[in-house]
């Protein structure tokens, strides 16, 4: 593929909040609070004049009603001038990575050169919604004019109407298939014969790798610590989902949560529910050079793909080949790979599908398997099973972690990819700069 420094997007720098378990230390922070923090840190730490940013693009899967275009709210609060536009993008789990792809596409289309991008999710603040019956009750009450009508409307109240709709559960359920995300993971596991032991082993390794990275201070490089409402009195600098003492036995004791009788997916081998945000400053390679900035990595290829929502976990397998093609490299050229750990079953499923010639022929229209993905290249610092999966923040974190790790190990090619609820996959190919 031809390289063009005016059209290739360089990741100049990025930071994230620590990822903290939902209803934990970050629960008082709204999504905009988290995003404001990472935006401001990126601006302060790079010293890049915010007025030169062409657009702010932020992924968020569940913005609060009070800050529907959370990108704009956070950009203004972080001191980005009012003249710089901002958009919130949403592609479920890939929303954070979508911001990067959106920036790359704008750059190629000639719509701007510098972008502040990222992803944020405050899963603590996913709301409880009023049930339909309660809404109806209030509507009737509101319309009732006479005293009699009002009393009649009041008499229509039933306590059972108070049962709320839980946004987080509904959000993680696929409306076209009626399956919860965990069920789709069970489907993938059954397709490739992945058993409970394999899943738990994988989960254990995720915790171990993350713990090691944390001890070695590798995450500290990418984390900008913060304080959170309501009291702002604690300095939050570390991801709190990593379990250094995790044992296989403890994982094995957990009960399956989705398919309670025959299933293998437990809370232990699935990603955690987490709050967090990540942001990056991106611009054309040429502009980075003009500004005297040394980028972390350059985006060489990206792709999105769709597949059957019932096995959405295999999304990365579908998105990776076109992304590699765009970058002009082979699967075997990849030095490091980040696949989001929505579920251990799904990561293992991707590994199996990548290596399967039959899957490639049946679903990807390829004559041979995509390639062998060795564990030593995959998720070397652990993943969402240990760190958590703040939905839209994850895509940005994967890219950030991958870029840092490529530089640290002095390696060249990296792939970050994730599966997307609703049956999609998204991938970016990074070249270390």
């Amino acid at each position: 593929m031809k390289r063009d420094p005016e059209r290739d997007l360089a990741i100049v720098a990025g930071w994230r909040t620590p990822f903290c378990k939902a209803q934990g230390p970050l629960q008082g922070a709204a999504a905009a609070d988290l995003a404001t923090h990472v935006f401001r840190e990126v601006l302060d730490r790079t010293g890049f004049p915010a007025a030169q940013i062409d657009e702010v693009i932020l992924g968020c899967a569940g913005p609060d009603a009070r800050e529907a275009n959370v990108a704009r709210v956070a950009a203004l609060r972080a001191g980005v001038p009012a003249a710089v536009p901002a958009v919130t993008v949403m592609r479920n789990c890939a929303s954070g990575m979508e911001s990067l792809l959106a920036a790359q596409q704008r750059l190629r289309a000639g719509d701007g050169r510098a972008f502040l991008i990222g992803g944020v999710e405050s899963m603590s603040n996913f709301p409880l919604l009023m049930g339909e019956r309660l809404v109806k009750f209030f509507t009737r009450l509101g319309k009732a004019r006479s005293l009699v009508a009002r009393l009649r409307a009041l008499a229509g109240f039933r306590f059972s109407a108070l049962k709320p709709r839980i946004a987080i559960v509904e959000g993680l359920t696929d409306p076209t298939t009626g399956l919860m995300m965990g069920h789709t993971a069970e489907n993938v596991a059954r397709l490739f014969g992945i058993d409970r032991m394999a899943m738990d082993r994988y989960a254990l390794e995720s915790h171990q790798r993350a713990a090691q990275a944390q001890r070695a201070g590798r995450f500290a490089q990418e984390i900008a610590p913060l304080t959170a409402a309501p009291r702002h009195d604690a300095w939050l600098a570390d991801d709190d989902g990593v379990r250094t003492e995790q044992t296989l036995e403890a994982l094995q004791r957990l009960r399956p949560v989705f398919d309670r009788r025959e299933g293998d997916v437990t809370v232990g081998n699935a990603c955690q529910v987490t709050d967090g945000a990540a942001a990056m400053l991106c611009m054309s390679e040429a502009m980075a050079q003009e500004q005297g900035l040394r980028p972390l990595a350059v985006v060489r290829g990206h792709a999105r793909a769709g597949l059957d929502p019932a096995v959405m976990g295999l999304g990365p397998v579908h998105a990776t080949p076109p992304a590699l093609a765009q970058a002009g490299i082979a699967f075997s050229d990849l030095d490091l790979v980040e696949i989001n750990e929505a579920f251990a079953a799904q990561v293992l499923g991707c590994q199996a599908a990548f290596a399967s010639a039959r899957y490639a022929q049946q679903h990807l229209g390829l004559s041979h398997a995509v390639g062998e993905l060795v564990p030593s290249k995959l998720n070397v610092n652990g993943g969402a099973i240990a760190l958590g999966h703040p939905i839209a923040a994850t895509g940005a974190r994967l890219v950030l972690t991958l870029a840092h790790e490529l530089r640290r190990r002095n390696l060249h090619w990296g792939l970050a990819t994730l599966c997307i609820g609703g049956g999609q996959g998204q991938a970016v190919v990074l070249e270390a700069a």
Binding site: T36, R40, E41, D44, R45, T46, G47, F48, P49, R77, A78, G79, A224, P225, T227, A229, R231, H232, D233, A234, W235, A237
Partner: protein
């Protein structure tokens, strides 16, 4: 329709004064401007009041006039009230009462007009200006940012004299009037509308049209006054004997603490009551008389002087080369650094507060959030504003990129080496050449910090006092190489932060700590030689200090006091010999309020753990008798006066005014005295020199006054 084509006024007396331009349009609306269009600040001088009297009299005779509109000279200015020079120049009660009556009678001409009068208020409408507006029939105000409405007279030690107490009390009721007048509160237009001071609030560009509409409404109704009745509690607490309740509550407040030194609020309270007990004419007379009495008091003279000093200080921010700072960085997240960063954020300046300790940064943020929470609960802040303030204060262990920073300020431990290293690091990290390098040191030479800075003219001391949010003074320290532009920029910042800057020379203790040293040192010695903390503190409270020296020591902390005392001793070995108390308190780990109490318990009530240390010291030294009131007065205050004049003679400050402002704002020297130099003059410099000489003979040579003081005493 609202163009102001002026028609020749044949029947007007001599050309209507240019001071208050007046035009009458075809509709018969007379528009009176309180000043010429080029006057951006309008005050009620004697001439302007005369001009207003002429104008109002002419309007009364003009048959074309159907309504009168009164407005300021230009957008953003109505009138800033009576001319302070006029207030300062009046020395006798009779003169004061006459001036008050004259002003009020001028405004009363408006009331006597047959046609309605509407005031269009935008910008300051304070003191005499509000009193003028109160004689109008309708008040319309704009939401301009500069709009402020109130009667701040008590802050100058006087009472409103142009009918303000009477009219305001009748307009808004006794409780609200007392609340506003006794504290001299100024209201923004929204609360002013809510409290009933104004009748209508409109967007700034529509002000004049809205005022004309109101005028037309009154004309159409054929009515002059707009009827307004007090309702609810305001009615019962004003128009019935129940008003005694409101008065009692207010009196109780005025008996507390230092309020006893200020007679004006008490006089204003009685006047507000008389608005409901006396017929208007008598009420106005009583008011004029009270103003006359107040204006001649030394308290008023002292406060007026202080007002001039503060205005003078604010002008320092407009010096040549003063730049506006847009991005700041504060290094050091301790009490001072956190307070300074919080203050910057509150005043709209983005700041990055850095410290190696995350927990210190969390404390800083928690503290700011708590303060904001208090303001939210008091409703003087809205949620999004609080959020914006917190957003402006970034806290991080990483300095980040210094490219856009134009003020870099350190507030780390008082260690020259550490400070120099940090400054070097800032420069190495690319702090822009134009950025100001500031230190919040209280004891180290600023010039030494500039030692290795390639362009040392930008190194300046900006000395905040603890707590920075509350203390009104900032010492801007000029090192020998500091440029005028850097000084002006630092002063401008101080003014933006709502503080009063004084420029001081780079010398040990600067001004405030140096003058405080003999005072606190002497208090400690008196303690050790047998005088009780209660007696010492009471003597100084009765003198007018906001806090006694022993309590102050508890608050400062004995560790800090010992450290400062060392610095001062090194600089002035004969005069500032350390006392034994500070070291003993530090040794006993009784550091003051921060460690569970010093001479007093932490809340200031009852004795604290430091008394044991004191008892031991007294045993060792063989304590003498308790000092008398007059001895306390002499020993505590006279050495401070001597030190202040030394500072003046050594050029630490440039003028007596700086001394006065610095000590009033820096240590709370009684404001009603107008500063330390008027106090010294009042005591008699010769008396002070004699007393110090005698102390030097009988107690210790350290009391010997400086030659400068002697020389002044002879003159």
């Amino acid at each position: 329709m609202n163009d102001t084509t002026s028609q020749p006024r044949n029947d007007a007396p001599a050309p209507p004064s240019a001071l208050v331009p007046c035009t009458v349009d075809a509709d018969g609306i007379a528009e009176v401007r309180l000043g010429r269009p080029d006057e951006t600040v309008v005050t009620l001088t004697r001439e302007r009041i005369l001009a207003l009297a002429d104008t109002f009299a002419a309007l009364a005779r003009d048959p074309r006039v159907r309504g009168v509109l009164i407005a300021g000279p230009c957008p953003g200015m109505f009138c800033a009230g009576a001319d302070i020079n006029l207030i300062a120049a009046i020395d006798t009660p009779a003169e004061g009462a006459a001036a008050a009556a004259q002003g009020r009678q001028t405004f009363q001409l408006l009331q006597q007009l047959k046609v309605p009068v509407v005031a269009a208020i935008e910008g300051p409408c304070v003191g005499g200006a509000l009193e003028l507006a109160l004689f109008c029939d309708v008040r319309v105000a704009s939401d301009h940012a500069a709009t402020q409405i109130g009667l701040p007279e008590v802050k100058l030690g006087i009472v409103p004299g142009f009918g303000g107490t009477q009219n305001l009390a009748r307009l808004v009721g006794l409780p609200t009037a007392l609340d506003l007048i006794l504290q001299g509160k100024l209201l923004k237009p929204k609360p002013a509308l809510k409290q009933g001071l104004i009748d209508r609030l409109v967007p700034s560009p529509r002000l004049l049209q809205a005022a004309r509409d109101e005028l037309q409404k009154q004309i159409a109704k054929g009515r002059k006054h707009r009827r307004r009745r007090l309702r609810g509690a305001a009615f019962w607490l004003s128009k019935t004997p129940l008003r005694a309740l409101a008065a009692r509550a207010a009196r109780k407040e005025l008996g507390k603490g230092q309020a006893r030194f200020y007679p004006a609020p008490k006089a204003a309270l009685e006047l507000c009551l008389q608005a409901f007990t006396l017929p208007p004419a008598q009420g106005f007379e009583a008011e004029a008389k009270a103003l006359g009495e107040m204006i001649a008091t030394p308290v008023s003279k002292g406060l007026t002087r202080l007002f001039f000093l503060t205005e003078r200080s604010k002008k320092l921010g407009k010096g040549d080369g003063a730049r506006n700072l847009t991005r700041t960085m504060v290094v050091g997240g301790g009490v001072m650094g956190a307070g300074i960063a919080g203050l910057l954020a509150q005043k709209g300046c983005p700041v990055r507060l850095c410290d190696v300790s995350g927990s210190a940064l969390a404390r800083a943020r928690a503290r700011l959030w708590q303060d904001l929470g208090k303001r939210l609960r008091r409703r003087n802040l809205e949620r999004h504003e609080a959020q914006a303030i917190l957003d402006r204060m970034a806290t991080a262990t990483e300095w980040g990129n210094l490219r856009g920073v134009d003020l870099w300020l350190e507030a780390v431990v008082e260690d020259l080496g550490v400070k120099q290293k940090l400054i070097a690091e800032a420069i190495a990290r690319g702090l822009p050449e134009h950025a100001l390098i500031a230190t919040n040191t209280s004891s180290l030479p600023v010039d030494k910090m500039a030692a290795n800075v390639p362009n040392p003219e930008r190194v300046v001391g900006i000395h905040f006092f603890n707590p920075p949010e509350k203390m009104p003074l900032i010492e801007v320290i000029r090192g020998p190489r500091t440029s005028d532009a850097a000084i002006a920029t630092a002063c401008k910042l101080a003014v933006r932060l709502g503080k009063f800057p004084i420029v001081v020379k780079d010398a040990p203790g600067f001004l405030v700590n140096r003058c405080l040293a003999p005072y606190l040192n002497e208090a400690a010695r008196l303690l050790v030689t047998g005088t009780d903390p209660e007696a010492i503190d009471q003597a100084m409270l009765d003198f007018g200090m906001p806090m006694g020296p022993c309590r102050l020591l508890d608050e400062i902390g004995y560790d800090v006091a010992a450290k400062v005392s060392d610095v001062m001793h090194k600089a002035f070995p004969e005069r500032m010999v350390p006392n034994p108390l500070f070291a003993a308190m530090v040794a006993a780990k009784a550091l003051g309020s921060k460690s569970g109490g010093g001479m007093f318990a932490v809340d200031g009530k009852g004795p604290g753990p430091g008394r044991k240390v004191l008892a031991t010291l007294r045993e060792q030294a063989g304590a003498g008798p308790t000092a008398s009131r007059s001895e306390l007065h002499t020993r505590l205050l006279y050495p401070m006066i001597d030190e202040a004049y030394r500072c003046l003679d050594e050029g630490i400050v440039a003028s007596e005014q700086d001394l006065d402002l610095g000590l009033v704002m820096g240590i709370g020297f009684p404001p009603f005295l107008g500063g330390i130099t008027p106090f010294a003059t009042r005591e008699g410099l010769q008396v002070i020199v004699t007393a110090l000489d005698s102390l030097a003979r009988t107690v210790d040579p350290r009391f010997a006054p400086a030659d400068g003081l002697r020389r002044r005493a002879v003159q």
